[in-house]
Amino acid sequence: MEVKPNETKQISPFFVFFLMPGMQIGVGILGFERIIAKEAGQDAWISVLISGLIINVLLWMCFKLLGRGPQTLDLVAIHKDLFGKWVGNAFNILFILYFIMISIILIRTYLEVIQVWMFPGVNVLMLITIILILVYNFVEGGFRVITGFCIIGLIIASPLFLLNYFPLKYAHFENLGPLLDHSFLEIMKACKKMTLNYLGFELILIYYPFIKNREKSQKWAHLGALFTMVIYVVSILVSLAYYHQDQLKDVIWATLTLWKIVDLPFIERFEYIGISVWLFMVLPNVCLGVWAASRTAKRVFGFRQKKMMVLILIIILVFCIFLDNRYRIDKFNTVSSQIGFYIVYLYLPLLFIWQSIVYKVRGHKS
């Protein structure tokens, strides 16, 4: 199976800086504050910070995993190298399901936001079909097109990050104290809840072969992950400064509610525009997830990626039909967060340690 795509399909390493936030910042940023503040209270920002730093360490581990040579260029190759063909393929299938799961969550949660905030009676099935056709259009263009979409999506949605200015006018920074009032365990629990929002950096394991001058991309990847962390930290700081702790318990979408405060002279209620523009942040995530799943499926089974992609899109559609009320979506989110946590915090370090051991043994042998 061809691992290395040829030069015309590769991207320059600088674009990894955009791919990282493009994949990590999804729909979680709109409502993560409540979940974390439940555990850590006013020290939630510390847990976001710590979480981001741990993610950077995990990213470093990923690069170490990938950098051993041409036989470890992407996840499928790593699995084959360490576990052989059959066990490796079993893990690969798990990852395919994992990527599909991320895409399902993203689409469904975003559509739930649309249902609650913009169009209560909208026909979800129709809307999902249109979005999936859009995803098909993008993924069909290949990895370069998806990267371009990430970059342009970030550029279009970046003014939305400036909206943090408006709540600051009413901020009470004394909400942030007393500092470090919570125990270490509580902060760590909040870190665990935070994983769903930082998920996405592990896609580097799939698109690593597509980068020219791969070694240079590590710097950009770390910068990208740090950028995501900064955005999340700013977001939670603003929320903590604005909301009282008791309020925060009841507000499901904290950031979105903060957009209601925006006071521009020609727009009365900004959140409609904000949510519509947010499409450009959610769609690159879904496209990358579907692309990663279909590419891994192609590498494992050998079928054409286009056919796999259509199959994956149909699976996503079917799942989204089942998730039709808040309770189910919430449950699905929690389950996915757990699975993501175990994969990222448990499986990746174990893989890293196992690979180091195996290579040491091989080194001794030869």
Binding site: I11, S12, F14, F15, I114, M118, F119, V122, L127, I130, I131, L134, N137, F138, G141, V145, T147, G148, F149, I151, I152, I155, P265, F266, I267, E268, R269, F270, Y272, I273, I275, S276, V277, L279, F280, L283
Partner: protein, 502 residues
């Protein structure tokens, strides 16, 4: 329209010589009444035949008949040495005879039914005078535009770029029309891969009559189904000269006063040649105004429909009474209003193109003002929407390139439908669809959304902003030229170390 044929078997537009032999060809010629045949100087002399409509009679009299009348009858080979004309051909090849006689050559036979003839080109070309450009008019700058004759156009270009590196390759396209196509480029600057691609695509063209360069453009373009033009046409020689020296390729057709230029990026939507004639700050501001005009033109009526149908909460409180009073009497939902008005504007535009000049301006006033006012009075449309649609129509004409203004006119309609279906979210979805199309589009192989994606910081110097010439030392990166440096000498530094009043 375009059928791929294996190249190498036939050259571009190889036409069939449908006559089996010389007699049949001559019979076909003689079937037209403007084909003259006579013997000169007497009944025993040469047989001279030509198409009266194609041949310059003055050249015939002065250069050919004058020489022949003074001398005894000679063999054609010796006659060839006597006549003071260039590029004469002595041949019996049917293909050559057919091609040259139909291009305006005189055929001289030694005696009747002789297959060997001497062909002398005496072309009488009917040319338009060089006039002002129609669609790319600039206030400052030269007012010369291309004309239909390829030779005059090449003259205009070569005068502006007197370098032997400017090379032109000619081909013939169209099996019946046999039209000459010239590909121009500056060797040493242009990317060789682009040249090969263009030449191969031109050679692959299979059609019977090619009358305009836009046919060629549709046949060699990268994506034949896209509304966004990948090859821009220009009718100014100075514009063509300046893009040729950047590293682009120019294609010209005999009979068409436009030249095709490629590869292009989406920035060509907003940049006019006139920006280079002004100081860079003015040029930059006008480009930004154009960007705003394009966005406004495409999005204004869809936003109106979306906001009024679904998201009336977005409208500021002070604007609400105005909108309510203007929309209150209208029996239709906003989408129908918008479609009716857009349709009326399109009708007016199509009609205005085909009306003769004198009637055209009247209809413009009648259509625009009277019908518009009457519609508002009758209660069919609201005056807010009327103003928006009229401004949007005006804004779509600020785009300097005619093909793109057509694109902008039509892109509005999918946005309108999307706005009616899903409001602001629908507009976002529609833009995402268009973005997916643009991301996949290439122009002669280079990506259409350059310099935005792939991000080339260097190319931003001549995109939405236009930096002064001193900052543009290198040619645009997306053209992948062989010689990226444009300015060699370091500009002399102004003396910055002097203090005030020193």
């Amino acid at each position: 329209m375009r059928f791929f044929k294996g190249r190498g078997k036939m050259d571009a537009a190889s036409f069939q010589v449908t006559s089996k032999d010389f007699q049949e060809l001559l019979k076909k010629f003689k079937a037209s009444d403007d084909f003259l045949t006579f013997q000169f100087p007497n009944d025993d002399g040469y047989i001279i035949s030509y198409f009266n409509s194609l041949v310059s009679v003055q050249q015939l009299h002065e250069q050919v008949l004058a020489v022949m009348s003074n001398q005894p009858k000679k063999v054609l080979k010796q006659l060839k040495g006597d006549i003071p004309m260039e590029d004469m051909k002595l041949t019996a090849d049917l293909k050559d005879i057919q091609r040259l006689v139909l291009a305006g050559s005189i055929m001289i036979q030694y005696k009747q039914d002789d297959e060997m003839c001497l062909l002398i080109p005496c072309v009488h070309s009917v040319k338009r005078q060089i006039s002002t450009p129609e669609s790319e008019y600039t206030v400052v700058g030269s007012k010369e535009a291309f004309v239909e004759s390829l030779d005059s156009n090449l003259n205009l270009i070569r005068n502006r770029l007197p370098t032997p590196e400017l090379q032109s390759k000619e081909f013939r396209v169209g099996s019946i029309s046999q039209t000459r196509v010239a590909v121009l480029y500056i060797d040493g600057v242009v990317n060789q891969q682009n040249i090969k691609t263009v030449i191969q695509r031109i050679e692959d063209i299979e059609y019977d009559t090619i009358v305009d360069i836009s046919f060629v453009s549709q046949m060699i373009t990268d994506n034949r189904n896209s509304m966004f033009p990948q090859l821009i046409d220009t009718e100014r020689p100075d514009h063509l000269a300046s893009v040729l020296s950047e590293g682009k390729i120019g294609i010209m057709l005999d009979g068409s006063p436009h030249a095709l230029v490629g590869p292009n990026t989406i920035i060509s939507f907003f940049s006019s040649f006139e920006d280079y004639f002004q100081i860079w700050n003015l040029g930059t501001s006008f480009r930004l105004i154009r960007l705003f005009a394009v966005l406004f033109s495409v999005l204004s009526s869809p936003l109106y429909v979306a906001v009024l149908t679904y998201h009336y909460q977005v409208i500021p409180m002070d604007l609400l009474p105005i909108l309510i009073s203007s929309r209150g009497v209208i029996p239709f939902p906003p989408i129908l209003e918008a479609i009716v008005l857009e349709g009326t504007i399109e009708l007016l535009r199509e009609a205005a193109v085909r009306l003769p000049a004198k009637v055209g301006s009247t209809i413009g006033i009648v259509g625009g003002i009277v019908i518009g006012t009457a519609a508002v009075e009758a209660g069919f449309v609201s005056n807010v929407l009327l103003m928006l649609v009229a401004l949007a129509a005006l804004a779509s004409f600020t785009v300097p390139i005619y093909q793109i203004s057509n694109t902008i006119r039509l892109i509005r309609f999918p946005f309108l439908i999307a706005a009616q279906l899903y409001g602001l979210f629908g507009i976002a979805l529609c833009s995402a669809f268009i973005l997916s199309h643009l991301l996949k589009l290439t122009s002669l192989g280079s990506p259409y959304l350059d310099p935005l994606y792939p991000l080339r910081i260097h190319d931003f110097k001549d995109s939405l902003i236009r930096l002064p010439f001193s900052k543009q030392k290198k040619r645009p990166q997306f053209l992948r030229t062989e010689n990226p440096l444009r300015i060699r000498k370091e500009a002399e530094k102004r003396n910055p170390r002097n203090d005030i009043d020193e």
